[in-house]
């Protein structure tokens, strides 16, 4: 016999029983005066321990007491609940007998069975329905070792554990001694268990708890099904420091700092490298400068001697005009060489690397150079010169091309006027040398003479262009160079 808790299951069983064993006939015996017909079907309904009813008595609270083959059954008419009592509750036996029931005048109820009879007054029964059981956590084991704080483990304490002590087991007790074996316990470890767990064993084991905050709640119910208040225990499994938030933040920050530092170092390296490059270049330039000056000192003074000597002889000797002329050529040639060297030195001097410098030098030198001649030289350079830097080669070649162009005009063009003009457009220098002379010979469409070839080569070497354009009168030489700034 077992106690059914749901109505539908009970009905099912009833039908089964009726069909199988004709319990209907059984219940006919009970067709007494006070019983209502629907009561016949409550064999398997709602917690009756046994359906073989020997006797039924109504007590003074108008509730029913029935003796059955499985002890006494109490039916509470107010809330339609059953309460079963067996030999374990102190009855003579579970089996009672026919016709052995009696209700005394004071309300005492007597039931007889095979081993004797029981009597009691329902009024004096203390049900545990009114008393609350207690609950306690009686043992706590951490990593299978007993955890002892103090003997009286107070309510609502907090257990704080390191991350590696995360295997816990608990033992509970329901504090109600009316019918201890009927006591129940249910518990939940909040943040771990999803719902309350009802336990018969009254112990539980949690293994490998992850770092976090948990709340163990446990309740006990006595044999009457009354639940106690909750007993609570806060459990904190501390994360190892390497899993804590501040650690992650610190790691993040140091990682970022690391990156910033590395970037800084790398950029410093780059800067240092660049500085070394510049220093090297500077050293090279300085060396070049020094060499050229040394050479110039030696060669320059030698050439000056030659020039002076020949000039001296020119003035002193009163001999051949031819010799004088030759001596004149020697001194002119020598002086020209010194001048060329000065120009080389000018180009190699790093102090002279600006466009402005080039233009001043050009103007000065060309004026001086062409002063003795009848040719009228007009130089037009922009007044405001942008701060453009030119390399040694660029300066030198522009200078020499200009000099050559002007020399050509002087030597070949028989011109009266020559203009040297510079225009700066976007990032380009445009030089123009225009004369009003006889112009280029017709047979020459491309420059073939050595001088012209040289000019072209010089402009090409620095990445510029040059062209000769025939004018109505004379020639226009245009040479350009792109600069970056």
């Amino acid at each position: 016999m077992f106690i059914v808790n749901t109505y539908s299951v009970a009905v099912l069983f009833c039908i089964v029983t009726m069909l199988c064993w004709g319990s209907w006939a059984n219940t006919q015996k009970l067709a007494g005066k006070t019983l209502r017909f629907e009561l016949f079907y409550w064999d398997y309904v709602i917690g009756m321990a046994n359906s073989y009813i020997y006797g039924v008595l109504e007590d003074e609270q108008h509730n029913f007491w029935m003796s059955t083959n499985m002890g006494l059954c109490f039916f509470n008419r107010r809330d339609n609940t059953f309460q079963n009592y067996t030999a374990k509750d102190g009855l003579q036996s579970n089996e009672f007998n026919t016709q052995a029931f009696y209700k005394g005048p004071s309300g005492t109820i007597y039931f007889g069975g095979i081993k004797g009879f029981n009597w009691f007054n329902p009024k004096t029964i203390k049900t545990t329905a009114t008393t609350n059981p207690g609950v306690a956590i009686t043992a706590i084991n951490i990593d299978d070792k007993a955890y002892v704080k103090n003997e009286a483990f107070a309510k609502n304490k907090t257990l704080s554990l390191p991350y590696d002590q995360n295997n816990l087991s608990f033992q509970f007790a329901a504090l109600d001694f009316t019918k201890p074996q009927a006591n129940k316990v249910k518990f939940i470890l909040e943040n771990w268990d999803k719902k309350w767990v009802t336990s018969v064993d009254k112990n539980v084991r949690y293994t490998h708890l992850l770092p976090g905050n948990y709340l163990l709640k446990v309740k006990a119910a006595n044999s009457d099904g009354v639940w106690s208040t909750e007993e609570r225990l806060t459990i904190i499994v501390n994360a190892p420091f390497w899993k804590k938030t501040w650690f992650y933040i610190a790691c993040g920050i140091s990682f970022l700092a690391g990156i910033i530092y590395i970037t800084y170092i790398v950029s410093q390296q780059k800067i240092k490298k660049r500085i070394r490059q510049l220093e090297k270049q500077h050293a090279i330039d300085a060396e070049r400068n020094r060499i050229s000056r040394d050479m110039h000192d030696e060669i320059g003074s030698g050439l000056t001697h030659i020039a002076l000597l020949s000039e001296l002889i020119q003035t002193q000797q009163k001999t051949d005009v031819a010799i004088k002329t030759d001596l004149g050529s020697i001194s002119v040639a020598a002086r020209k060489l010194v001048e060329s060297m000065s120009e080389i030195i000018w180009a190699l001097n790093p102090q002279n690397d600006s466009l402005e410098n080039l233009l001043s030098y050009l103007r000065e030198q060309m004026q001086q150079h062409f002063e003795p001649f009848e040719l009228s030289l007009k130089i037009v350079f922009p007044d405001d010169v942008p701060p453009v830097k030119l390399s040694n080669e660029q300066r030198r070649n522009l200078y020499l091309v200009t000099k050559e162009a002007l020399n050509n005009v002087m030597k070949h063009s028989r011109a009266q006027i020559v203009n040297l003009v510079l225009e700066i457009e976007m990032n380009q220098l445009i030089f123009r040398v225009c004369d009003d002379g006889v112009g280029l010979p017709d047979t020459v469409s491309r420059p073939t003479g050595n001088g012209l070839k040289n000019m072209r080569k010089r402009m090409e070497d620095i990445g510029g262009t040059i062209e000769w354009i025939r004018q109505k009168k004379g020639v226009k030489v245009v040479y350009t160079l792109k600069f970056d700034n």
Binding site: H296, V338, L359, S360, E364, Q367
Partner: protein, 210 residues
């Protein structure tokens, strides 16, 4: 006939200059030296009291021509100093100008040009190349404490200086500013004087005097 001395260590050039000066009829070569030390001795003994012009090379054994000028100029501010330079070495020439020289001429110059420059110097003119001019501009741009109004450049002088640094010739500048070429020369001479004064003051300031 202007009394002149020359300091030049190169024998051939010294002889050449001597001959040139003698032949010019304008200058009276009183003495020639091969080093600064010799020249200093000469003046210390009072032998150079009548000298008006000094023509000196910059590169000399021992002390340089610049040292000579630095020593002699304060003692004889009336003397004109012309420096000889192998090439247009703006740095060295500029230093000489700061020390008190009022003219410079390249060794490479033809003979008549050389004499011309000396005569020019005597008249009060001073040559200045564009590179030198640029250096002068920079020198005057440097901030200096306690600058006397008289020592900073006038507007005209600034103008002349800026055209010079662009490479314009004296004639071109004269045309542009509608002044005579002599005026241009005077301006340049004044520029040199102011440069020298400024330099002197700077040197004094560095040694702790005012």
């Amino acid at each position: 006939m202007t009394p002149i001395v020359i300091i030049e260590d190169d024998e051939k050039i010294r002889n050449y200059l001597g001959a040139l000066l003698a032949g010019s009829g304008e200058f009276n070569l009183k003495a020639s030296f091969i080093s600064t030390e010799e020249a200093i001795e000469y003046f210390e003994f009072g032998l150079g009291d009548d000298i008006e012009l000094v023509l000196t090379d910059i590169q000399l054994p021992g002390k340089s021509g610049i040292d000579l000028i630095s020593w002699l100029k304060p003692r004889r501010p009336d003397i004109q100093f012309m420096v000889l330079s192998v090439y247009d070495d703006a740095d060295k020439v500029f230093k000489a100008l700061q020390a008190g020289a009022t003219g410079y001429v390249l060794k490479n110059t033809s003979s008549n040009k050389l004499i011309e420059s000396l005569i020019d110097l005597r008249k009060g003119g001073s040559p200045m190349s564009s590179q030198i001019a640029r250096k002068v501009v920079m020198a005057f741009q440097e901030q200096q404490p306690y600058v006397d109004g008289k020592e900073s450049l006038s507007d005209r002088e600034n103008e002349v200086l800026s055209w010079l640094s662009k490479g314009y010739s004296y004639q071109e500048i004269a045309d542009r500013l509608f002044i005579s070429i002599d005026t241009v020369r005077t301006h340049i001479r004044n520029l040199y004087e102011k440069l020298h004064v400024r330099n002197k003051k700077e040197a004094l300031r560095k040694t702790g005097f005012r």
